[in-house]
């Protein structure tokens, strides 16, 4: 499912696009949409990928989510970012289901007039997504299936925004 919102502000238009999907996404086509915001000189993107475990035994992972709540949580996070920084566009795409080695998991893209706002908003969204969006990873490895444990570092990452 995906949502689009358009707000028209005095100076720039602001759009939020959110999608939770099992299909892969295309960074280039998201970027092409982000760079259309003519008042925005800065585009920052983040992509999260399935990476090797240190012992090289990962086959794949499955992402479970809470349908409905995930989308709402992502919209709320995007709106929080929008209220903190002046942004032209916020795109968040999160995949669910089974993903293999090196597949794309998550995309966050920001268009803004200023690079500092674009960087901050993109990192803010990832930090909040990691702690607030109801998604869970299960790793399928040579020695069995394991739910990924939440990381203290992800929780600590929120501190700087408070």
């Amino acid at each position: 499912m995906s949502w689009r919102f358009f707000h028209r502000l005095p100076v720039v238009s602001m759009s939020i696009f959110i999608a939770v999907q099992s299909d892969d996404f295309c960074l280039a086509s998201e970027y092409d949409k982000l760079r259309r915001h003519s008042a925005c000189g800065a585009v920052v993107t983040f992509s999260g990928l399935v990476r090797e475990l240190s012992d090289n035994t990962l086959h794949s992972m499955t992402l479970e989510h809470y349908p409905g709540m995930t989308e709402q949580a992502l919209i709320a996070i995007a709106q929080q970012a929008q209220s903190r920084w002046q942004l032209g566009a916020v795109h968040i795409i999160h995949r669910v289901g089974t993903l293999k080695q090196n597949e794309q998991i998550v995309f966050v893209g920001i268009a803004s007039a200023h690079r500092a706002a674009a960087f901050a908003a993109c990192e803010f969204i990832m930090d909040y997504l990691k702690n607030r969006a109801p998604l869970w990873k299960k790793e399928h490895t040579a020695s069995g299936d394991y739910w990924v444990a939440a990381k203290d570092s992800d929780q600590q990452a929120l501190a700087r925004w408070e």
């Binding site: 999260g48 992402l63 479970e64 989510h65 809470y66 409905g68 709540m69 709402q72 999160h94 998991i105 998550v106 990832m126 997504l129 990691k130 702690n131 607030r132 969006a133 109801p134 998604l135 869970w136 990873k137 299960k138 739910w147 990924v148 444990a149 939440a150 992800d154």
Partner: protein
């Protein structure tokens, strides 16, 4: 009725995806619901007592002091690990 959902590792350990609880028209706190669920058996007692348990009421994260009523959707789950 209150619809209760469980996700991820918690869902697997409880061996339960969804549970319906009658609240008999009473106003309850999430903590009261949790206590009723914990009383079901030793496993539920243990799994639903974890200090890192998260709770969402009608798809919004809430503390255990939140009030629940007939028709609400309540969800319990472990710390999230998306992204």
């Amino acid at each position: 009725m209150i619809k209760i959902l469980f996700f991820a590792a918690l869902r697997e350990r409880l061996d339960c995806e969804q549970y319906l609880l009658s609240c008999e028209g009473k106003m309850l706190q999430v903590a009261d619901v949790l206590q009723q669920l914990q009383s079901r058996c030793h496993t539920w007692q243990q799994e639903l007592s974890r200090s890192d348990l998260l709770c969402a009421l009608n798809q919004q994260l809430v503390p255990l002091t939140a009030s629940v009523q007939d028709g609400d959707e309540l969800a319990f789950f472990p710390p999230v690990t998306g992204g």
